[in-house]
């Protein structure tokens, strides 16, 4: 079990903001941290990893205290059993794919995990390449393999898929999920992408201005609506066009574009790039085998 509690004053573009967060995780869970930029998601991962110090914190992982500011206890990043996938992947440019993964091995670790991970991530053909010669998706897989090679208790993923296109994103979600199950990891994923959260996570924590505002199963958290609806999809607004007196809002959901008619008043709060929930309660959705 993982217990996390942290308080830290963050310097944001809007001035000082307190981050005050507390949550508990069960072993083997995959949870997502969701929220606007600057809500404190990355800081939570960094405090957990020991890369950022909180003003007050208490972190306990499997009865081992990692942080306890009251007792002035602080384990360094090196001694915490974590795997961290950075947003920019942070692959070592001077090392090949295989050497990058090998670098994560500890003195007593089983060296067999390197070929096993290269196979799992389908990187065998690329193992002697330098990171500069890899595509974004391939680099992401190397970063994931390297983070897991240490066989950590907790895997931390900081928006690992944000730089990839939808198709690649979809594929890489599979790799993440496969690795999470195969190595029985407890995984925390920072994500802005609703479909990703729905596909991967058991639980989601929604953060706003440094506080947890909601947590629970993705379906419960995101579909908690005031009206009763029969049909919900999440997506991203990709276009708003004026058509006579109404507006056509195009929403991209997975690989489908849904066009919705909206009035001038309704589009007031909408803008391109926003994540939205499309609900419909007047028709019966039909399901067909593809």
């Amino acid at each position: 079990m993982i217990q996390f509690r942290a308080y830290k004053i963050l310097n944001t573009t809007q001035g000082k903001m307190p981050l005050d967060v507390s949550f508990t995780l069960e072993h083997g869970q995959l949870i997502s941290l969701f929220g606007k930029s600057g809500a404190g998601k990355t800081t939570i991962l960094r405090i957990l990893a020991g890369l950022t110090n909180a003003d007050e914190s208490f972190i306990e992982v499997d009865n081992e205290i990692w942080d306890d500011t009251k007792k002035k206890l602080h384990l360094s990043a090196q001694t915490r059993s974590i795997g961290f996938v950075f947003q920019d992947y942070a692959l070592f440019p001077n090392l090949t794919v295989k050497e990058n993964v090998q670098f994560a091995l500890q003195k007593k670790s089983d060296r067999k995990i390197v070929p096993e991970l290269l196979e799992l991530m389908e990187l065998e053909q690329l193992q002697n390449n330098k990171p500069i010669n890899l595509s974004g998706g391939q680099q992401q897989r190397v970063a994931l393999a390297r983070a897991i090679a240490r066989q950590p208790k907790i895997l931390l993923l900081d928006e690992p898929l944000s730089a990839l296109d939808d198709e690649m994103r979809f594929k890489l979600q599979d790799y993440i999920f496969k690795a999470h199950l195969h190595y029985k990891l407890t995984t925390i994923l920072v994500s802005h992408h609703l479909p990703e959260i729905f596909r991967l996570s058991d639980n989601v924590i929604i953060l706003d201005k440094g506080k947890i505002i909601k947590q629970g199963k993705p379906l419960d958290v995101f579909t908690e609506q005031k009206m009763s609806s029969k049909f919900n999809v999440t997506g991203e607004i990709i276009d708003i066009t004026k058509n006579d007196i109404v507006y056509i809002v195009s929403v991209l959901s997975m690989n489908n574009i849904i066009k919705i008619i909206a009035t001038a008043d309704e589009i007031n709060n909408l803008k391109v790039g926003q994540k939205v929930l499309v609900t419909s309660k007047v028709f019966n959705p039909m399901i067909q085998v593809m």
Partner: protein, 224 residues
Amino acid sequence: MIDLSPLWLSCRLALIVTILLFVISIPLAYWLAYSKFKLKTVAEVIITLPLVLPPSVLGFYLLIAFSPANTFGKFIDTYFNLRLVFTFTGLVVASVIYSLPFMVNPMVAGFKNLPGSLKEASFTLGKSKFTTLIKILLPNIRASLLTGIVMTFAHTIGEFGIVLMVGGSIPKETRVVSIAVYDEVESMNYHNANVYALILFVFTFLILLGVHLINNKKQATTLL
């Protein structure tokens, strides 16, 4: 026959100074790049001073400091039996101080240009600061290291003012090639001065050409 000892002396001085500065500058540059110490700026200014201070001013202060008549000079003379005025060792010490920014500054720039996540990724993989420095940071700032090494070497070869102040012009001890050129001109031996000057000119030109070629090649491969 022209005396080749100033050339040899210059090369020996530059080589020793470059090796010493390389070793000293790595921890110093690491500290300057990553430390959050408040008085760091003062250290940065002190290290950069030789870039703007006239060499004769620095040479003058070092001459005073190294003189056995004064506290520091007396101290090292008594306890280490070391004389730094008008000796080759004195030249090495003075050059190390004078060329420090030429080695440290490229290294600091190299460290600062690396994404911070590289260092942090290594830490999260359980690697110590030392292992991270040796295996990750230094190999990824190779171009900066090379620039530092070459600039220090070339700059030490080309030193004049500080060498003259601290070392004077003792043949085979402190008469380096830049001093030799000056001496030959003073004695109206234009032919000898010409030979020394030309060798120095071609030598430094080739070194800098080499660095630019290597760095350009590196940039080209990075872009591929």
